[in-house]
């Protein structure tokens, strides 16, 4: 190969201005992290973010997930005006928050509300993987708690899509307290004889796994989702042991009894509709 150093770089300035509009949403392309295929964003979006080549599941934002899942026009958001605050004055947290809000267009890392699937009404929450790693701060916990309280009052089942890196470290102890608070709300909803179904998506870890994500009556998971409290690298370094193949993946957890069923993304609507239909009269029925 010729050395690149043979040729100089011309000092020509860019002709005209940088055109940021060139990459329009419709022709934006993404590379599949699994098979490396270059897929148009629009194609991916139309197929619920499943790679058309290898079937790998790409991350979905909270709102995209809801709009894809529920009956068209049935979603009514709750507590949309709750916004997080930097209570501890944690270094660079305020900047991270506003950046996450700007990029996601949402106030927090979880959306809650009511909707229907094939006409069956339910309350739901959907977490956002891109919002500070889907971490749980005080407002995430508060919104989840209020959703379960609302569902208990209105006698609605709850369906939740969990994805999280764990408790939000920037909110310190306030984050950790959400584990107890949400667990309490789930318990009261359950004691009212109501159904709670969770879908664990990649990755669901930390304080969320240690609280409401694992407290559902029916625990579903997306294929190959990483589910666990501490991550595999942390465990490996602490125990100084090589972990088994597929450790903490949904399939592994199902063999250990932590997950009830693995549901491919394109079968989830039907699965949830069926579960809601079967438990129309509550979890006790």
């Amino acid at each position: 190969m010729l050395s690149r150093k043979l040729f100089k770089k011309p000092k020509n300035r860019l002709e005209g201005e940088v055109d940021s509009a060139v990459m329009q949403a419709e022709d934006r392309r993404v590379a599949c992290p699994e098979c490396k295929a270059i897929v148009p964003q629009a194609t991916l979006q139309a197929q619920a973010y499943v790679c058309p080549r290898c079937g790998a599941l790409h991350a979905m934002s909270a709102r995209e997930r809801i709009l894809w899942l529920v009956d068209e026009g049935s979603f009514h958001e709750l507590d949309a005006d709750l916004t997080p605050i930097d209570r501890l004055g944690f270094p660079s947290y305020a900047g991270k928050l506003s950046k996450a809000q700007e990029e996601s267009g949402e106030q927090e890392g979880v959306l809650t509300g009511t909707a229907t699937i094939q006409g069956h009404p339910f309350a739901l929450f959907s977490m956002n993987p891109a919002f500070i790693m889907g971490s749980m701060g005080a407002i995430v916990g508060e919104k989840i708690t209020r959703l379960f309280e609302y569902a208990a009052e209105k006698r609605l089942p709850v369906v939740g899509y969990a994805v999280s890196g764990g408790a939000r470290i920037q909110e310190g102890i306030f984050s950790l307290m959400q584990m107890a608070k949400t667990s309490g709300a789930v318990l009261r909803h359950s004691e009212a004889g109501l159904l709670y179904v969770v879908v664990l998506t990649h990755p669901t870890t930390g304080g969320v796994v240690a609280s409401f994500a694992m407290e559902a009556d029916v625990i579903l998971a997306e294929p190959k989702a990483l589910i666990g409290f501490a991550g595999p690298r942390v465990i490996e370094q602490t125990m100084r042991q090589k972990l088994p193949q597929g450790f903490q993946r949904a399939e592994f957890l199902m063999t250990k009894g932590f997950v009830d069923r693995i549901v491919p993304r394109n079968a989830q609507k039907q699965e949830l509709a069926q579960l809601l239909a079967l438990h129309q009269r509550g979890a006790m029925a």
Partner: protein
Amino acid sequence: MFSKILIANRGEIAVRVIRACKEMGISTVAVFSEADRDALHVSLADESYCIGPSPAKKSYLDMTAIVTVAKGCGAQAVHPGYGLLSENAAFAKLCEDHGIRFIGAPCEVMNRMGDKDAARRTMRDAGVPVIPGCDLVATAEEARREAEHIGYPLLIKARAGGGGRGIRRVFKPDALEAAFQSAAAEAQSAFGDGALYMEKLLTHVKHIEMQLLCDSFGNVLCLGERDCSMQRKNQKILEESPAVCVSPELREQLTKATVLAAKTVGYLGAGTIEYLLTQDGHFYFMEMNTRLQVEHPVTEMVTGVDLVKWQIRIACGQELNIRQEDIRIEDHAIECRINAEDTAHDFRPSCGTISMLHVPGGPWVRFDTALYQGYAIPPFYDSMIAKLIVSAHTRAEAIRKMQAALCEMVVEGVEHNAQMHIDLLCDQAFIDGTYTTDYLANRKA
């Protein structure tokens, strides 16, 4: 048409002429010195003959040797290229005397234009503006009287001048006599002719030259101007066409003066008239070059006219089939001369073997050279090893193209000046086109 032409030159211009001949179906004869046995033109021509030892004086300037080869191999014409014997009237006469056509200006025109004082007077009488000055001055006393009229600063020049010899700049009256005596002595020893004349010294001027093609039917074609103001020690290093500083009205005036000058001297073939252009838009005749110029490709690129082919056709007695109104210059061309010289050490010539050569390419990029990989550049001749020429619809685009082409060009094994060109193209004075002939001398590296 001539069936066989001898090319009495070397390097890229010999290659350029051979290419034109090949296109026209003409057989080519190359001549070479002992140092040039491996030169490209020697292999590219149909026949080649060694005409003497390495120094040009003993080979490429040996008129008898060249004419002998031409006669011996049956060449019908000689193309002298530029430099060497191209403006030598005695050589042109020797060729004609032996029944060989000299592809260039007629001897008498060459003689008249070679005498700088006579050329100046001819042009002045024809109504072409000349630099204010005086005719020949015999003594220092006479020079002093004339200098009062011309005003200082002024130039003392030798009638037979060339190559910058016999020229003195005089800034004050008391320096005149000494300058006069030394110029006369230098001209006497250099040219065997000590006759001197004087002109006003013009500063901050543009060197603008007009390209001509004249046939034996009285057709005179002016192919626009070239701006050759980027010079180092009177050597052009970068040329462009058209010139930024020449407005359409000025171009019309220049064209008119050039056609008038060509008709006055009865010019034939390809030629160039050089003018000095002052900042207030006045132009003055400087000299006429009765030959092909190094920088002729810029004109070829913007006009689409092959000057070498037309030189040959005209010498053969053909009539120009292009009219003045067909010449429309809409594009812009730039040429950079690539010289084998060490810019870091006062531009001293650099020799060596070409270890790597990559010729820049792409649309409207032209690279005229006689280099090839493995070629050893001999130390006896001119340091110019290549000419890189580009053209584009606008000047700005041509500058970009030249930048890209210079960066792509790879000539390894010798030092050369490509980086200097890259830097020059970024200079504000170049970008806005205001550079004058003294620009490089005052430029801070």
